[in-house]
């Protein structure tokens, strides 16, 4: 018998049994268990006994869980009924609650979808982590320029010399091809030039054709399903002939490939081996190391060290004779990880045309999503705390009837979850409605179906769960801890101060976020307006650009013919003044009286006669290129900044040299913004050219007619080329597209945040004034005026507003200033923005307080103070 003590069942099993047992006291469960346990142990050994014990415990657990779930479900029914009744009873508050949360959740979801889309870019490649692109840094003038362009032989050479590079393929897209099949012609077709390794690197599945061989032959072409459907309809395109480009190279279709997904930075309608039709692009030898216009992608082994490749590639360049030694010395190539291409690219000239995203903007939107979400949740919590004051009696009764604290927590939590789920349904609906609008603004193609991905679903569920927990936590924890005795006997006229401190905190934080958002969006809007209104030093309205690679053969004839039309004001030729931020920097510049240590980089534009007239530029000194002076073809025009930088007293007539051209400075042109306003105006000179596209200034009237005329003239002189035109203002717009999109989105989301916040404030103040109805009645009886009472309630809020402003205005200023730093030409954040922000928030808060207070104050004290 003395050994009995040692024969207890495992402690953990005992613990679980005790916890689970509904009638632990009534039946002697542990004792019975132990008795059997000992029996088994004595007869069959300890192992069997333990096994039996655990098996029984496990079997009991399932039954226990079933019981609990069943019980809870019954209770949940009751909670559901109660919360729906509560919702029905306070219609306006329920509306504010659900609407606020739905809008907030919808905003968050939309931004999440967008962010998810951005992060999903290029991820579908199975080699995603081991892919690299070769980019090249140049020193040009005084600045570094990064390009994606490399010569064709580099890939094969890298593969040969360094075993860690397993595959390499050129991929470069051009989109100017004329493609003909059986008389069906398409212009501006987008073709990707590549090499057979393409299919080893990337995961674009072929529908038909062999990935190993389909690009081997120089005269083959692989088309996407879309292209196949366009040219061949239902016919099988395999083996058919495609006439590619103006020269009509006959290419044989050797494969059909799935259309590249939207979230791929590699886009194409057809794949063509680098060797075929290359003449159209470069006219140079593909084996040349100097023909560097190609984008090169590499697949490397896991053990590759990308950093070491800078030197390795440079060494390769050195060993292969590049004649231009100066060029050879200045060029540095390195490996850019594939995953950085979409959002973290530092490349200035990208061979791919895809719309890159700056990770900065993604982070901005993530923070906005966070802010909107927090404001919406806090709003919900505020309303919940306010409303909980009315439900104290219900809590008391529940407690008296035997509810435990746990039951009450579960009740209030499930109530908040019910609300959150309702709002969530609405939010999904809103997302569905507004996704097209977001796509419109952001220029993306985000699909609602993205929500189907499991990790999105999980994060969405998490967001919902957090919202529910977050917003239900306060009332659940606070109300459930109240003592029923104190709930019934207290008779205070003004209601109790339930959760006042927490509410104050929540309101302050909401104020804070709203003010920051409002402030920043005001700064954004002002800056963008500033850019739109800024005098660029030239005008671009009604200037039509006609694109032509190379040059036009009979420029003078075309020009004269065009000018015959009444609505054509002026025609010129040359590089347009809408440079990207990396200009056409020039070196090898020299002039009369150049100081030996002069180091500034110059930009240059090649232009023709009437350039100044077409773009409305003003000459400060001298004259512009003119037909009356034939020697002008080798002369130069400088801008003011250049003259100042060169420190020339009397520039006209001075000798100026650029590369091999030597000429005189014939004029000084007033500074104009030839790059975006992000950059300061740089020294610039204009040289004469006979190449590049046309710029035609037309009258604003009858533009459609005029453009038809342009097309007719074009057809006459260039029957082979498709007529392509664009308005110059559109190009200028595109220059700021990132900023514009940010401005638009921030504007909308700020507006929504303000709506959510003020809706919440409206509800909250409504509750507070209702709670204080009796107090207000008494004050009125004692002679208080409406303004007295409004001031009294508003005083509480003005304090919170002031505290929030003290923190948020400087924060807003900091963020705004940081963003403005992107621009060389920018607005000052004036005191007015502070004032407007503050006054706006102040005025709205006051209006809400005023409205809600007056509603209560107008009630007859005789009614409000009646005591049943």
């Amino acid at each position: 018998m003395s050994s009995k003590k040692a024969l207890h069942i495992p402690a953990l099993a005992e613990f679980i049994l005790k916890k689970m047992s509904l009638y632990y006291e009534k039946h002697s469960i542990i004792e019975d268990f132990e008795e059997t346990y000992q029996e088994i142990r004595e007869t069959e050994g300890i192992l069997k006994a333990n096994t039996w014990c655990w098996m029984s415990v496990i079997k009991s657990v399932s039954g226990y869980i079933k019981l609990i779930v069943l019980g809870r479900f019954t209770m949940f029914n009751n909670y559901l009924k109660i919360s729906l009744r509560v919702l029905k009873r306070n219609k306006s508050f329920s509306f504010i609650n659900i609407a606020g949360l739905s809008i907030g959740l919808a905003c968050t979801l939309l931004i999440m979808l967008w962010v998810q889309y951005e992060f999903s870019f290029d991820k579908f490649h199975s080699n995603y982590d081991n892919l690299y692109r070769v980019v090249t840094d140049f020193e040009r003038g005084n600045q570094n320029v990064t390009e994606t362009m490399v010569p064709v032989p580099l890939g094969a050479e890298l593969k040969k010399v360094y075993p860690e590079i397993t595959h390499a393929a050129i991929f470069t897209e051009y989109s100017q091809f004329r493609v003909e099949v059986d008389g069906k012609i398409g212009f501006n077709q987008q073709a990707g030039f590549t090499e057979p390794d393409f299919f080893e690197l990337f995961s674009f599945p072929l529908v038909s054709g062999n990935p190993k061989t389909c690009l081997k032959d120089k005269n083959s072409i692989v088309i996407t399903e879309e292209t196949a459907a366009y040219y061949f309809g239902d016919k099988d395109p395999m083996g058919e002939t495609v006439l590619f480009d103006d020269e009509k190279f006959p290419l044989k279709v050797t494969g059909v490939i799935k259309d590249p997904p939207d979230n791929s930075h590699i886009q194409f309608k057809m794949l063509v081996p680098v060797g075929s039709g290359y003449g159209v692009i470069t006219g140079k030898d593909l084996t040349s190391w100097e023909n560097n216009v190609w984008g090169l992608y590499l697949l490397a082994r896991n053990d590759v060290d990308p950093a070491s490749f800078t030197n390795k590639i440079t060494k390769l360049y050195r060993t292969h004779n590049i004649e231009n030694t100066q060029y050879r010395e200045k060029i540095r190539s390195r490996l850019q990880p594939f995953k950085n291409i979409h959002m973290r690219s530092d490349v200035d000239f990208d061979t791919s045309n895809h719309f890159m995203t700056d990770i900065k903007y993604v982070y901005i939107f993530i923070s906005i999503a966070g802010v909107v979400f927090i404001v919406a949740c806090f709003n919900f919590m505020c309303m919940a705390t306010a409303r909980s004051a009315k439900r104290e009696k219900e809590v008391g009764i529940r407690k008296v009837s035997g509810a435990f604290k746990r039951d009450l927590i579960i009740q209030f939590m499930s109530e908040s979850f019910i609300l959150v789920f309702i709002s969530f349904g609405f939010a999904l609906w809103l997302v569905y409605l507004f996704l097209p609008a977001l796509n419109e603004i952001s220029g993306k193609e985000i699909h609602f179906a993205l929500l189907n991905k499991w990790h999105i679903l999980i994060s969405v569920c998490l967001v919902t769960l957090i919202t529910g927990l977050f917003s239900g936590s306060y009332p659940a924890l606070y109300l459930s801890s109240l003592n029923p005795a104190s709930l019934f006997h207290r008779k205070s006229l003004s209601g109790k101060k339930t959760g006042i401190n927490l509410r104050k905190l929540l309101v302050t934080v909401q104020y804070l976020f709203t003010i920051v958002l409002l402030f920043v969006s005001l700064v954004l809007v002002k800056q963008m307006n500033f850019i739109a209104a800024k005098d660029l030093g030239f005008s671009y309205e009604n200037v039509v650009s006609l694109d032509l690679p190379g040059g036009i053969d009979h420029f003078e004839a075309v020009k004269n013919e065009l000018l015959m039309h009444n609505d054509v004001i002026s025609v010129t030729q040359g590089i347009r003044p809408s440079l990207r931020d990396q200009g056409h920097s020039a070196h090898h510049i020299d002039w009369e009286g150049k100081e030996a240590d002069f180091k500034l980089g110059f930009d240059w534009l090649a232009v023709s006669y009437d350039y100044d007239r077409t773009y409305n530029m003003t000459l400060k000194e001298g004259r512009f290129f003119s037909k009356e002076h034939p020697e002008d073809t080798s002369n130069f025009v400088l801008n003011e900044t250049a003259v100042k930088a060169m420190n020339l007293k009397d520039p006209i007539g001075k000798i100026f040299r650029f590369n091999n051209t030597e000429g005189k400075i014939i004029g000084v042109i007033k500074d104009f913004h030839f790059s975006s306003l992000r950059k300061k105006i740089k020294p610039l000179f204009l040289t004469f050219t006979k190449y590049f596209g046309l710029s035609v200034k037309i009258r604003p009237e009858n533009q459609d007619e005029t453009i038809k005329y342009l097309a007719a003239v074009w057809k006459k002189f260039e029957p082979e080329e498709p007529f392509k035109y664009s308005f110059f203002d559109e190009r200028i717009q595109r220059m700021y597209s990132n900023e514009r999109k940010t401005e638009m989105l921030v504007k909308y989301f700020t507006f929504l945040t303000i709506v959510i916040f003020f809706m919440g404030l409206f509800g909250l103040i409504g509750y507070i004034s209702q709670q204080r109805t009796k107090e207000i009645g008494i004050r009125k009886v004692l002679g208080a005026s409406i303004s007295n009472i409004t001031t009294m309630i508003f005083r509480d809020f003005i304090k919170l507003l002031l505290i929030a402003s003290v923190f948020s205005l400087p924060l807003g200023y900091y963020i705004g200033a940081k963003w403005l730093n992107n621009f060389a030409y920018r607005i000052d954040i004036s005191i007015w923005i502070f004032i407007v922000t503050f006054v706006f928030i102040f005025a709205f808060s006051f209006l809400i307080v005023f409205y809600q207070t007056v509603r209560v104050t107008l009630l007859n004290p005789a009614d409000t103070l009646r005591y049943e």
Binding site: K4, Y23, S28, I30, E31, F33, S60
Partner: protein, 107 residues
């Protein structure tokens, strides 16, 4: 008075076989002996709970087990109503079995 289910029948029978009253563990052993099948304590207690509500079984606490730290156990006893219900069920079984025998349906 309702009829017993097979499970109730078995438990009550086991109690009768254990001379009318017993602790949980012997009852379980008896049931296993009778049916040859394992029964989990949870099921046993649930059935006991049910039988108690019907008034077929009562419980009382035994004296503490005479060892150090020994605790008292719950003893289940069959009531008069329980015995009556068992008898009634058995009678019904007999009757049905008699009819089955007529059809030469036997074990």
């Amino acid at each position: 008075m309702g009829l017993l289910t097979l499970r109730e029948d078995i438990i009550l029978s086991a109690l009768v076989l254990l001379s009318g009253s017993s602790g949980g563990a012997p009852i379980r052993n008896k049931i296993i002996e009778l049916t040859g099948k394992e029964i989990v304590y949870g099921t046993l207690y649930n059935m006991m709970e049910y039988l108690m509500r019907k008034g077929y079984v009562t419980t009382h606490k035994s004296e503490p087990v005479p060892v150090q730290g020994g605790r008292s156990k719950t003893i289940y006893s069959i009531t008069k109503a329980g015995r009556a219900a068992l008898r009634e069920t058995m009678a019904l079984h007999e009757k049905i079995r008699g009819r089955l025998k007529d059809m030469e349906f036997e074990v």
